[in-house]
């Protein structure tokens, strides 16, 4: 049974009142887990984070972000909430500022001893979204995530797995115009048969391409359609 919860954002006066009520109940010695759960405002950072991930899994990224924020408000040292905030910001991102915010959240998580693969995995995607100079860091993060978890599957979105980390790496290399590098990584997701310098192999999905770069882009496009995310 899901606990009842208070709204994620609230006014300062109400927040102080709730705090006073909690203190009062504690002094009376009559608080209990059931009673706290029943109160919509009363959650620990851990609880807020669990609730937020549930929202994330239901693709409700806005509420998930709000609840990750609440978790952090409860306990600013609680690292998993920052990881979640990064993923939520990534999902909601529509601008460079949004993705920089996601990167910042992942950095905050790492600074709070979040050493799992989810941090570099999410950060690699955020950095790929930023493009430009961040592409190199996206590659490093993707490789790092795969090294931390060779069989990586993102627990809160299982469709995002180790293949996606390789695609992030390949797509970032493509953004750097490193066509051979991109193909090398992409071929580990699905072999293309393309060989640089051998125009006879520049065939993707039955279509022949006149250049190596064109064939690589077609192969990446195919992988994006079939595997990305």
């Amino acid at each position: 049974m899901k606990p009842r919860i208070r709204p994620a954002r609230q006014g300062g006066a109400l927040r102080y009142a709730q705090t006073a009520l909690l203190i009062f109940l504690s002094l009376q010695g009559c608080s209990s887990d059931r009673e706290r759960a029943a109160a919509p405002e009363d959650h620990t950072a851990v609880e807020w984070t669990e609730l937020a991930w549930a929202d994330y899994e239901q693709l409700n990224y806005t509420r998930a972000l709000s609840r990750f924020d609440s978790a952090i408000a409860e306990d600013a040292a609680y690292g998993p909430a920052y990881t979640g905030r990064g993923w939520a910001r990534l999902a909601l991102g529509l601008s460079a500022n949004d993705f920089m915010g996601a990167v910042s959240s992942f950095d905050d998580a790492a600074a709070r001893q979040q050493v799992g693969s989810e941090v570099p995995a999410g950060r690699s995607a955020a950095r790929l979204a930023l493009g430009g100079a961040e592409l190199a860091n996206a590659i490093l993060d993707a490789v790092n995530a795969r090294n931390l978890a060779p069989q990586f599957v993102f627990a809160h979105r299982p469709s995002f797995d180790g293949k996606d980390l390789r695609l992030i790496e390949a797509f970032a290399k493509a953004g750097q115009a490193d066509w051979a590098g991109a193909l090398s990584v992409a071929d580990q997701v699905e072999a293309s048969g393309i060989q640089q310098g051998n125009p006879g192999t520049y065939v993707v999905g039955g279509a022949a391409y006149t250049t190596f770069e064109g064939a690589v882009l077609a192969h990446l496009n195919k992988l994006s359609t079939s595997h990305a995310g």
Binding site: I168, L217, G229
Partner: protein
Amino acid sequence: MSRRIVESLRNRMPLVSLALVLLAPWSLAWADSFEPNDTWQQAHAIPSGTPVESWISVGGDVDWYTFTTGETGQLTIRLESLPADYDIDLYWYDPDFQDLSWIASSYNGGAQDELIEGQLNLTGAFYIIVEGFEEAYSDSDSYLLTASYPGGVVNQPPQVTLTSPNGGQIWQAGSTHAITYVASDPETAPENLLLSFEYSSNNGVDWIPIAIDQPNTGSFDWTVPDDPTTEARVRVTVSDGQNQAYDASDASFTIQSDTPTGDNALSMGTGSGPSGAQIAVAMSLANENVVKALQTDIVFDPAVVSYVGGASTERGSGMTFSASVVDGDKVRVVMYYLDQATLPAGTGTIASLDFSLIGASGAQTALTPTATVLSDPNAQELEVETQAGSISIAGTAIPPVLQIAALKNPGRVRTVQIFVLSSQPLNSLAVTANGTQVAMSQIDIPNHIYHAIVHAANGATQLAIAATGTSGTGQGAAQAVVNF
């Protein structure tokens, strides 16, 4: 001034006239002593006309010298460069008495030179004694004794052989080369020979000093002057202080100027094709000088052509080639040899430059080499003339073929990298995503690939991408749809 003059003749001897002459100090330095020569029986034989250096190094020391002649004639004995009051006496060995007979003396006072001079009418062995007046001596300074007598062997001249340069060399002005030689002298120690060097730029008609009074080391480093000639020669002169000898280059050699002369010409070829096509234009070099490297900026009209790439070819195929567009309207070509190889004199293509034709039919651009620098193996700049080429646009335009790749970000699939690849350089490219204009940046110039990142809204179900590109007067388009 004379302090004492003794002039005497034995009654059985012909007259020997003597004179005392004050002489300037002799500056030659000698390094040997002939001790023991303290008695006439130990006398040291001296050649005629050759200075002998020695010392009266302790009080009471005397030095005996001897010479033998079978001829009569002028006799001159000089004692010079005296550190103290030294005197000389001349004796003749009388075979009848089997003893010495005094002939003449020179007793100038102080450190004045001594001189015995006159007509010698005797033959046989003669003896000279050098001694300090009242046991005068010097343990730090020497004297010089020279006896020139009739029939005596004269001082032998030194010898020198120039071993380099002896012809055929090509020496760059400003560079340093060794002039090598072998110098010797029958009587003079090698270290006491002095060398002088000269060069001629007209096969020895005129000589220009290089250096004088150099020690005899067998080699002299010469910094070659900027006096270009093919008739250069070097002459080395050796001196033993009295006689000289010289030797010059057996044949002429060449001095090249800092700026070598020669006819060198860099020229661009011509080409023609329809708008949208790509053509190769040859870059040729006709060089009389040996070439090590070149750099040139080929100016073109960017509205007519765009530079695609290039490579060294044919005569220049061994050269490292690099080229890039600078200032938007020049291709800076740099070609050079990394190793010791050089481009010998010759004529022909050295590189090929590829251009895409983007202007309208009838358009034309010159390909003008500017700021051209040609250098030889010594990194000296060579004179070079340039000749422009041209490219003209003719025929029906070839439209560009566009290809779109849309790569979804696996972490946020509605964030999409858009790549547009064109078959040829574009004058313009317009891309829209769901109807919104997208600013593209070219991330791969040689392959004409453009890139952008777009972020579709969270509720978007697809991203429709459209691209339109123009190349010259041709136009191409492509569309793609990304489903989320």
